[in-house]
Subunit: 205 residues, 2 copies
DNA sequence: ACCCGATGTGTACAGACGTACTCATTTGTG
DNA sequence: CACAAATGAGTACGTCTGTACACATCGGGT
């Protein structure tokens, strides 16, 4: 180990390399995705980023600081993709199709993001300082959905995306894409007719 | 430390105390709820359960074995509560009310269960052996919902419960109980009229 | 030309961790 | 009554952890 890194006496001194900080954050997300927050350590991240161990405490106040920055970046880039998909949609139909695509593609297309999302939620469930990240993320998602749906529908769609994504990932059964389409259609009624269907008391017979 | 536990020369030998194993599992869930899987260690669980450290490796093959058993118990007791609520409901109306209650009460009423759920999901997202636990849990939940709703509605309701619970826990905004009622009503149309609404192409407006 | 502060690195340390292993104790059996 | 197996406790060991800190290196000011 440590054959390519930490050759004594080389590459030291003043360089002011902000890129290095970014690389560490990205590497941190990689490590979290692979080993979980539980298995994330300064050493693993340093090795993944190709920086010496000392850089960890130099660039970040501590492990929590690093995790916070990493998940903030994850949430920001994630919601950016979400917003882009929604603003690319021209009408309600394509917006609904985009929602279906987001669900069936497992959040943003990779298992990595799913794992990272759960790690973030787990942290947020216990620690309020991470909840600001999830709150901001959900707020951006809802705002994107509100480009095409009324606020209440947006919130419900957001929740449906969350639930269906999780169930499709963690359970072998809920995998039928056509069913996802129908689920979205039950919620995402066009704005003008939503009021006619949703709050109406259900027929009993 | 270790003043009430581990007095040398006392309480040793053959006792065959299955209760002790249970106590360790319960204590393990307590520790996970408080410190997360990341912060769970043999020592903390042993202290919480009031057993010596050596009992950890005696009763369980290792940390993973302990976690697996703990989460299995958690999932079983959790789904039992879910099933009971559903079978207690007499008709569709009270079933829908029960679903709303489950969501608004944060899974089963405590933040502890929410945290544990996320910890389990995080594990399951990465490791297939924990996914059998989540799969079984979701299957039991769906079966309970199918006492009152058709299979597709049950799956969608299950997903909605998941998503709304998470969003209500991790986001300060989605807290209006009346909105939960309306969300459930959009999905949980009575069996006979569901076919009339759900698969129908949406009016374009 | 020289030096000083800024910037980044290498290492050492104290503690916590999982687990293996030895040994004490009790209970069923002969 | 004695013995052996079952059961559980205590401890020690090697590994890995976060973090502090001394120090090397370089750019810019004089």
């Amino acid at each position: 180990m440590a054959s390519d890194v930490a050759v004594p006496g080389t590459r030291r001194g003043r360089r002011n390399d902000p890129e290095r900080r970014d690389r560490i954050i990205d590497a941190c997300l990689d490590v979290i995705a692979e080993a979980g927050v539980a298995g994330t350590s300064h050493r693993k991240v340093a090795e993944a980023a190709g920086v010496p161990l000392g850089s960890m405490t130099y660039y970040f106040a501590g492990m929590d600081d690093l995790l916070h920055e990493a998940f903030t970046r994850f949430a920001v880039t994630g919601s950016e993709q979400f917003v882009r998909r929604m603003s690319d949609a021209a009408d309600h139909d394509s917006a609904r199709a985009a929602v279906v695509a987001i669900i069936t593609e497992d959040v943003f297309g990779s298992a990595r993001d799913l794992v990272l999302t759960h790690e973030l939620y787990t942290l947020a469930a216990r620690r309020a300082e991470y909840r600001t990240i999830t709150s901001a993320w959900m707020a951006r998602s809802r705002a994107a959905l509100e480009l095409h749906f009324d606020p209440e529908t947006a919130r419900q769609l957001d929740a449906l995306i969350e639930g269906l994504t999780i169930h499709r990932a963690l359970d072998a059964e809920t995998r039928d894409a056509a069913e996802v389409v129908r689920a979205v259609e039950r919620i995402a009624v066009p704005v003008r007719t939503a009021a006619l269907i949703a709050p109406t008391p259900l027929p009993e017979g």
